[in-house]
C-alpha cells in the first residue's frame, strides 16, 4: 500500500542526511509504527509520505502509483493526517473542522452534514452537543478524537499519525489508544504512526520500524523486536524490562477465565453462601437479571452481618474490557489492590475474570524466554 524505495532526505546546509536510503513497505490494513530517539528521522519519513517534505532522492509508491508525479494537494486529500498538537482550526467549529477535506473535494452540504454526524457517533461524541462547539471548548481527549475524525472525513485508505496521543495525560492516552485500536478493527486503514515511546509502539504496531540516525535498523513484528533484537541498539532502545513490555502485546481475553460462578441479585443469602462454598473462593460476583455486573460479596461479610440484607454487602469492583492489554489490567489490579478483575463487555455484561496470578505466570514465562535469549552463544 505504501512503498518507500531508497528514500533519502538531506536538508539544505546539513552534511549528513536526515533520512538515509530508507526502504520500507507498509501492507494494506496494517499499523506500521516508526519509532526511534529524537532526530532519528521518523517524522521526516512520515512527512515525505504525504510530501509535506519532498524527498531528495528515492521513490515513493502509494497504492502502486508513483506519488512523486502526482499533484501534492490531491495526494494529501486522500491521506488522513493527524499531528501531535492536533492542529484543529481554532476559528472553526467541530463540524467545520471535520468538513475541511470534504469541502476541498466539493461534496454537497447534505452529504457533509451526514458524514459529520456519522463520524462523531463513531468516535463516541454526541453530534448535537459537540458539532457547533469551538475547539477551545473541548477537553484534550475530545480534541484528539475530533482530530482523528477529521482525518477520516473522506474515508481515506491511508492515515499518517505523528505522535497523535503525546499531548494528553497518561490515563486519557491509554483510553485513546484502546479506542483507536478497536476503531481500527472496524475501519482497517493502512496506518503509519510515529512515536518516541517504545511501549506505545509495541501496543499499537502490527509492525515496528526502529530508526536511528536516518537509517532503518529493524523492521519487524513487535514480538521479534522484543525477543529477536537485531543488534545492541534495538536491545538498548527496547530496554531491559522486556518481560513487562510483553504485557503490552497480550490482551485480556488471552488469559481470561470464562464460565465463572456467579450469583444473581434475586437469590437469598443462603443461596449466595452455598454458591460461594461450591466455588471454593472467599467471594462471588453478583449479576442482575440481564447478566450485568453489580459487584461482589465476601463470604465473611455475609456471615458477620446476618441480620442485615445480604445485598448491602455488595461491593463495587473495577472492571476491564476484554480487548484491553494485560499491562492495563495489571495497572488496574495493583492500583485497586485487587487480585481479580471482572471482564465486562461495553454493555457491562460479565464475560469472565482476569486473575493477578495468571498475569504473573505470563511474566514468568517471558522471563524464561528472555533468559534463553541472553544465554551466551557456544562457539
Amino acid at each position: 500500500m505504501i512503498q518507500l524505495n531508497k528514500i533519502s532526505k538531506t536538508y539544505p546546509g546539513k552534511s549528513s542526511p536526515a533520512v538515509d536510503n530508507l526502504s520500507l513497505e507498509i501492507d494494506k490494513g496494517e499499523i506500521c509504527v516508526l519509532v526511534g530517539p529524537s532526530g532519528c528521522g521518523k517524522t521526516t519519513t512520515l512527512k515525505m509520505i504525504n510530501r509535506l517534505i519532498e524527498p531528495s532522492s528515492g521513490k515513493l509508491f502509494i497504492n502502486g502509483k508513483n506519488a512523486i508525479n502526482q499533484n501534492p494537494n490531491k495526494l494529501r486529500q486522500d491521506i488522513g493526517y493527524v499531528i501531535q498538537d492536533i492542529g484543529l482550526f481554532p476559528h472553526m467549529t467541530v463540524a467545520e473542522n471535520i468538513a475541511t477535506v470534504p469541502k476541498l473535494k466539493d461534496w454537497e452540504q447534505s452529504k457533509i452534514d451526514q458524514r459529520v454526524d456519522e463520524l462523531l457517533n463513531l468516535i463516541g461524541l454526541d453530534p448535537e452537543n459537540t458539532k457547533d462547539n469551538y475547539p477551545a471548548q473541548l477537553s484534550g481527549g475530545q480534541k484528539q478524537r475530533i482530530g482523528v475524525a477529521r482525518a477520516m472525513a473522506v474515508d481515506p485508505p491511508i492515515m499518517l499519525m505523528d505522535e497523535p496521543f503525546a499531548a494528553v495525560d497518561p490515563i486519557t492516552r491509554t483510553q485513546l489508544q484502546n479506542e483507536f485500536l478497536s476503531l481500527q478493527k472496524k475501519i482497517q486503514k493502512t496506518i503509519c504512526f510515529v512515536t518516541h515511546d517504545i511501549d506505545e509502539a509495541i501496543k499499537m504496531g502490527d509492525k515496528i520500524a526502529i530508526l536511528n540516525q536516518g537509517k532503518l535498523v529493524q523492521y519487524d513484528t513487535p514480538e521479534n523486536i522484543l525477543f529477536n533484537p537485531k543488534n545492541e541498539f534495538v536491545e538498548d532502545f527496547v530496554g531491559s524490562d522486556r518481560s513487562l513490555k510483553v504485557l503490552n502485546l497480550l490482551k485480556v481475553n488471552e488469559i481470561m477465565k470464562e464460565n465463572i460462578p456467579t450469583a444473581t441479585t434475586d437469590s437469598s443469602a443462603e443461596e449466595v453462601l452455598e454458591k460461594i462454598n461450591e466455588s471454593r473462593q472467599s467471594y462471588i460476583l453478583i449479576i442482575d437479571k440481564e447478566e450485568k455486573l453489580v459487584g461482589y460479596v465476601n463470604k465473611e461479610r455475609i456471615k458477620n452481618n446476618k441480620d442485615k440484607n445480604w445485598k448491602d454487602n455488595i461491593k463495587f469492583s473495577q472492571v476491564i474490557s476484554s480487548d484491553a492489554s494485560l499491562i492495563d489490567a495489571l495497572t488496574r489490579l495493583i492500583q485497586n489492590n485487587q487480585s481479580i478483575l471482572p471482564v465486562t463487555s461495553d454493555e457491562n455484561n460479565l464475560i469472565g475474570i482476569v486473575r493477578l496470578e495468571d498475569i504473573q505466570d505470563r511474566i514468568a514465562d517471558s522471563y524464561q524466554a528472555e533468559a534463553e535469549l541472553e544465554e551466551p552463544e557456544v562457539v
Binding site: N73, A136, L160
Partner: protein, 211 residues
C-alpha cells in the same frame, strides 16, 4: 474666549473642515490598506521568511521618523496641496499596517498551518481560510493605529495647504484666537476616538469569538 466664540467657530468653520479632514484620513488610510495588506502578505510568505526580522526592524525604525519630516520630504517632490498631503499620509500610515500584518501572519501556530497543508488545502485557501482569519485581530489593530496616527498627522497637512482641521488650529495660532485652537484640537481628538472605537467594533464583528 467666550462660549459664544466657541459656538460660532463650531457652526461657521467646523463642518466643512471636518469633512476635509475625514477625506484626508479615509483616502490615506484606505490607500495604505490597499498597498500594505498585499505587501504584508507577500513579505510573510515562505521565501521571505529568512529576511523577516530585518524587514520588521526596518519598518520599526521608519516609524520613528517624525510625521512632519515625512510631509517635508514630499513637499519638494510633489509640491503643495491635497494630493501631496495624501501621498505623505499614506506612506506614514503604511508602516503600522504592514508591521501588524507581518506580526499577525508570522506568529500563527505553525502546527495549524501544517495541518491544513497536510490535508491537501491549496496555498491560497490556507491563506484565505486559515491564516487571514486567525491574524485578523492583529491586522485590524494595525489599521486602528494607522487611523489614529493619521487623524493627528493630518493636522500638519495644512502646512502644505491641504486644509482640514489643521487650518482652524493654525489660523487660531496666528490670529491669537484660542477658541479656534481649542475647537480644532478637540474635534480631531473626537474623530480619532470615534474611528478607533468603530474599528474595534468591526473587529469584534469580523472575528469569531471562539475563546
Amino acid at each position: 474666549m467666550t462660549l459664544q466664540e466657541i459656538i460660532d467657530t463650531l457652526i461657521n468653520n467646523a463642518p466643512s473642515l471636518i469633512i476635509e479632514h475625514l477625506q484626508l484620513v479615509f483616502l490615506s488610510v484606505g490607500l495604505a490598506i490597499l498597498i500594505a495588506l498585499p505587501l504584508g502578505i507577500l513579505l510573510s510568505r515562505e521565501k521571505f521568511k529568512p529576511y523577516l526580522p530585518t524587514i520588521i526592524s526596518f519598518f520599526n525604525i521608519a516609524q520613528g521618523v517624525p510625521s512632519l519630516a515625512v510631509i517635508a520630504i514630499f513637499m519638494p517632490i510633489l509640491g503643495i496641496g491635497f494630493t501631496s498631503a495624501v501621498v505623505a499620509l499614506t506612506i506614514y500610515a503604511l508602516l503600522p499596517i504592514i508591521r501588524n500584518t507581518l506580526a499577525g501572519l508570522g506568529n500563527l501556530d505553525q502546527d495549524i498551518i501544517e495541518a491544513a497543508k497536510g490535508m491537501g488545502m491549496p496555498a491560497g485557501k490556507v491563506l484565505l481560510k486559515i491564516e487571514l482569519p486567525l491574524a485578523l485581530p492583529v491586522i485590524i489593530a494595525g489599521i486602528q493605529t494607522a487611523t489614529v496616527v493619521t487623524v493627528g498627522t493630518a493636522i500638519l497637512a495644512d502646512l502644505i495647504g491641504a486644509g482640514g482641521l489643521g487650518r482652524m488650529i493654525f489660523a487660531g495660532i496666528s490670529m491669537f484666537e484660542p477658541a479656534r485652537i481649542l475647537v480644532g484640537s478637540l474635534l480631531s481628538a473626537i474623530i480619532a476616538i470615534s474611528l478607533d472605537q468603530a474599528l474595534k467594533y468591526i473587529q469584534t464583528k469580523l472575528t469569531v469569538q471562539f475563546q
